[in-house]
């Protein structure tokens, strides 16, 4: 559930939103002490046939099986650790049943929606601002995604009620300019002129006193940027 969040930390590693995807490989996993099931049974049968194992075909990987696997590994010049990994598995002739997804997984992942939503927000919020000011607005939205006191997705942050004026008046639905698109990409690629800011406001129109108590990082064009 929290996956899309854990992910944000890997931004250092990947800069982009990193989705940790887990391979569903339940049937080609490593077998070790404590493993149970048909695969263990099959392995015990094989080991017994070859004379490495003389315990019961129980389907439970216990001490006897462990010793048998070690014996088998020693005999076949494998690393003797009593764990059935890919090599031992191959040597035992156990089938690898983990089948990859039928279609390319990456075709089902698109970042274009994120870019688009971010670009529209930037366009609506920072029209006529210097370029780095547009990137900065994009960066604030991404910083909010990573911040505990805000929603954890781009859409959650952008559409949070009472957060952005253009969302309230519908300006967010306008088509973004090329510059806004470019700025959105730069922000997603990790450019953050604000140094981690999570707030920005226009001093000419901001009425809230509260907002001025935040820690200001810098001013770009008409916008003031600030931390918590």
């Amino acid at each position: 559930m929290k996956k899309p969040i854990c992910i944000l930390l890997s931004m250092l590693l990947t800069v982009l939103f990193v989705f940790s995807l887990y391979i569903d490989g339940t049937q080609a996993q490593t077998l070790a002490w404590g493993s149970q099931g048909d695969e263990v049974r099959l392995m015990q049968t094989k080991l017994k046939d070859w004379g490495f194992y003389d315990g019961p075909i129980s389907g439970t990987f216990g001490e006897l099986t462990f010793e048998a696997v070690k014996k088998f590994q020693r005999h076949n010049g494998l690393t003797v650790d009593g764990v059935v990994g890919p090599q031992t598995r191959a040597a035992l002739g156990l089938p690898s049943k983990s089948k990859p997804p039928a279609d390319s997984v990456s075709r089902g992942v698109s970042r274009s929606d994120d870019v688009n939503l971010l670009a529209r927000t930037i366009h609506a919020e920072a029209k006529g601002e210097p370029y780095e000011g547009m990137v900065a607005v994009g960066a604030v939205i991404l910083n909010r995604v990573k911040h505990p006191a805000f929603p954890n997705t781009i859409a959650g942050v952008v559409y949070q009620p009472c957060a952005f004026e253009p969302v309230k008046n519908g300006a967010i639905n306008q088509a973004p300019s090329d510059q806004a698109f470019k700025a959105a990409r730069d922000a997603l690629n990790g450019w953050d002129p604000t140094g981690g800011a999570i707030y920005f406001w226009n001093p000419a129109t901001a009425t809230s006193k509260w907002i001025w108590t935040r820690r200001i990082t810098l001013t770009i064009g008409r916008h003031v940027f600030a931390l918590e």
Partner: protein, 448 residues
Amino acid sequence: MRRYLLPGVLAIALLATAGWAVYQRNQSREYHTYLDLQFQRQFYELIGHVENAQVDLSKAMVSGSSKDMTKYLYDTLQQAYLAQEKLTQLPFHHATIRKTEKFLNQLGDYSTAMANKSIEGITLSESEFGTLRELQTYANFLARELIEMQQQVVSGGINFGDLRREGNRDLERVNEQMKNFRLINIEERMQEYPELIYDGPFSEHIKDIKPRLSGKEISSDEAIIAAKNALKDQELQDLRLVGKIENTTIPGYYLRGTQGRGNGPEVSVAVSRVGGRIIWFLNPRDIKESKLEKEEAKRIAEDFLKQKGYNDMVATYTMAAEGQMVVNFAYKQEDIIVYSDLIKVKVALDNGEIIGMEAEGYLTTHHKRDIKKPTITEEAAREKLNSAVEVEYSRLALIPMPGNKEILSYEFKVKFGKDHYLIYIDAETGEQRRILLMIQQEDGTLVI
């Protein structure tokens, strides 16, 4: 007859207008009611999730085995996450709910960190149990307050539709309204809950990162000279100080200048106050048709970094879009890729000019690390992989983990079906630490 014509027309017009007004009013009332009910639904769900979160947390604490505990901690995580999601969809002003939002996020995050611990068979310490107990107390308090609030919603004392209108305007007035609400109490109470330090993204200590960058403090004039030197090829004219960058991990000077003579694009640069290094720069010029090969662009980016004195940087991946290519570089120490020390360079594909750079990651974390030798061999790590994958290459890499930690791991690029993945196996314990899916797109290779 004629003299009745005009008043007649006017009377009909008046009636029509009145009819139209009534219709509009009904419509708007309908929308208002619809919205209010949507908000009410979210509010009810919010209460449910908070209740479940605190119950699941108590079950985690009472669980007899670490297996059961893990299960309930993951349930807590899910409920906390859903509660937070519902809360942020309600029309409350940010300033009135930020502590509560943060609490819910940290509750989920802390539960994850503890669940990950117990899944690895580590029993929680006395103080970790103490923290769980404390979190449970706050979650319980939050649930009780929300249940009280529910009474007011039911009696019609709170109309979410009205709240939405006030939310954006005057905080004072919102606060006035919120007094009827228990949110103010909740926020006040939530101030008190302890700072949580643990291995998670929302841990308290993440914020206070001390940069590794060293050097002497420079003035703004020196910063202008430093930027001019570092970005000679940009031929910046009229480079000037726009403002100071303060309160950030790397404080600095924010400069702007015009490229070339006449009406070139405005280039912006940030120079660090300590050491006078480029933190980032951006040249937003228009880009013409791409003429460069990707390999060539990568080489240009590599040369640029070498020229700036960044040696031992290797390109880890590239992404091209709209006529420009971003090349990511990571530092390499004794054949080990250090992913935290990251620099990004942007190349224009029309003429190969460098049009952007971002080095905050590198400047924050780069230092000579004392990397321990791996305790397990590459072969042993390979044995930890799923046997259905095809390994294409492997190398050692230091990867960043939640909680500002770095772990040495074997990076395997594998093929599974039609896709490529990067799998990281801990070089000390053999645990699988992370799987990344590589997304092949027309515009380049993205690592997701």
